[in-house]
């Protein structure tokens, strides 16, 4: 699989939440690989485990969740085996995270500039206060926050939602990370601001040569900026493809369902087709392929055996018994 340089590779990852009601098998054998310099889109419905997978990369699964098994290989190193202090040095410096809700993520008691500065101070020793502050101002400028010199001294509650998201982005790029994980970066801001945020992100990606993982349920966004896409359903990746072929000819029945459920401009289409059924209960997930209760092509084997993610044509992977190839 290593045609190009792989920056991140997740192998056979399992994450379970041990709740009062039972064990929630949130992540069930995820395999994915992200290439250096690309923009990888991770799509799926709310609650399918996209964010949990990404948090597992940073080893920040909130209790009562635990990574049960698997490997997360970043630049050739298995992150799950690193000592905590080494892991901390990677968070925010090598792998940066842009959160969904910047309003809740920024500490209300500190100025926004300070919160960017402390990220720098956490990863660099022997830097002067003054030079850090200058860097913060220039970071604010680079994420297009107007009047940066004044804004750095303001508290998060004095910012608008879109501006707060820019502060979070400034935090994320402060250490020039190799991998940027953007978890639904535009859901909490309104549409006009969404476009601006995306512009900022794309610009940064070009100038800083970063790899980016975009976690979203918005397929339009994926089509707009991603190179490759992984589709997730109920804790596993069901299909991986480059963005053109995915939209042209989706393979997995779930992906097809997803694409039929959004309006399409180029096709004449009169009705949107929802996927029948609901997301499965992850405490007692359906046996075999987790999608089979909602799948119209389901056969006997789907109820018994969980399909593996297999490459069925160059660069295209799908986990479905329909494409067994034999």
């Amino acid at each position: 699989m290593s045609r190009r340089d792989e920056i991140l590779r997740i192998e056979d990852l399992y994450v379970h939440f041990y709740t009062y009601a039972g064990v929630v098998k949130a992540i069930d054998g995820v395999n994915m690989s992200v290439l250096r310099g690309e923009t990888y889109g991770l799509v799926g419905e709310t609650g399918c485990g996209k964010s949990v997978t990404m948090r597992a990369v940073l080893r920040l699964i909130p209790p009562p969740g635990r990574i049960v098994k698997g490997r997360v290989i970043f630049n050739g190193v298995n992150l799950l085996e690193l000592p905590e202090e080494e892991m901390r040095k990677i968070r925010g410096a090598k792998i940066a995270y842009i959160v969904q809700d910047p309003t809740a993520a920024l500490d209300p008691l500190y100025t926004s500039g300070f919160q960017v500065a402390e990220t720098i101070l956490a990863h660099e020793e022997n830097v002067g206060k003054k030079s850090v502050w200058e860097r913060v101002v220039s970071l604010f400028k680079s994420v297009l926050i107007p009047d940066a010199e004044r804004r750095v001294k303001q508290y998060p509650h004095e910012f608008s939602g879109g501006m707060r998201q820019r502060v979070v982005i400034a935090c994320a790029i402060s250490e020039k990370p190799e991998l940027l994980i953007a978890d639904e970066p535009t859901t909490s801001v309104d549409v006009t601001v969404q476009a601006q945020i995306l512009e900022v992100l794309e610009d940064l990606k070009k100038t800083q040569e970063m790899t980016m993982i975009l976690v979203t349920h918005n397929l339009g966004l994926v089509a707009q900026i991603c190179d490759r896409v992984g589709v997730m359903y109920a804790g596993s990746i069901v299909e991986v493809s480059d963005v053109f072929r995915l939209f042209e000819e989706p393979l997995h029945p779930y992906t097809r369902g997803l694409l039929n459920a959004i309006p399409h401009v180029t096709r004449t289409q009169f009705r949107l087709e929802p996927i029948p059924g609901t997301i499965p209960d992850l405490i007692n997930p359906p046996p075999g392929c987790r999608f089979h209760p909602r799948c119209k092509h389901a056969t006997g084997i789907c109820k018994r055996e969980k399909p593996k993610l297999r490459e069925i044509e160059p660069g295209r992977f799908v986990a479905c018994h329909l494409y067994r190839g034999d």
Partner: protein
Amino acid sequence: MAELKYYLIRRVITFLPTVVGMLFLVFLVSHIVPGDPARLWAGPEKAVKPEVLEKIRRQYYLDKPWYVAFCYYMRDVFTGNWGKSPVTNRKIIDDIKTYFPATAELAIVSELLIIAVGVPFGIVSALKRDSIIDHVARVFSLIGTSLPIFLTAIFFQYVFYFKLRLVPLGGRGVKPEVVRTGLYILDSLLCGDWHALLENLKTIILPALALSMLGMGIVTRITRSSMLDALGSDFVDYAKMKGLPNRWVIYRHALKNALVPVVTVLGLQFGGLLSGAVITETVFARPGVGRYAVQAAYSLDYPAIIGVTLLIGLVYIFANLVVDILYAWIDPRVRL
């Protein structure tokens, strides 16, 4: 910082109506009573001469309409004319001046004890959730909030004075060489009278402990739950994502946010301490305003009870003002 100044000015302005409202409430309670207020103010003697009642009516403006009487009453309160005790025939304000330092000292020491025990206990209990220490903290706070102060006070007195003879029975302690503030502990520190300092500490420790049990219980519980909230919040999560060292995450982000509600509770506790002092001082025979009020209640010295009520109310809202200022200092959102 400019906004902080404006906030303070605004806060002081909104503070005034509360003071007036409070005075009005006290006025209501003391003037609109069933029967004849003059008779009540005249004291416990059954047969009071009509000319004495007449004099009291004039003195407390009972012959005027209530709104006029209230205006006079406010003027009197602010000019320090808080009435005269019919029992001792002394001015209430003078009595309060004599007795207040003992109460203030007790309340301050108790507040410090609450902060010193409740806050760290709550933090540790949140950080080590479901450990032994957490369970101990929970039981401690439950018992603390259920113990009536008189029981705690009596129990401490019985064990540490009658049985162990470790500390004095109570009282006011030893007067230091130079008295400047009236708070004996502070005074003996200031003039370096170590013997008096030790004696005063020994005198105050039991009443202060008994008085602070309730507050310790409440503060431990509030600190624990607000620390848990902060530890589970998105900004703490995000601070970890930024790769901040654990120490920064806990003390800089979680703790500071957790302290915001704790400060409010600490302020509210101060009022509770003043009312608890009424009981503690009675058990330990400490000559403060609380014991003064109880003696007044037993001898039906009505003006004295009202005077103490007024004093405690004023100190209480002043404590709340201080809390609001602290609040604004910690939390920038409040200043707007």
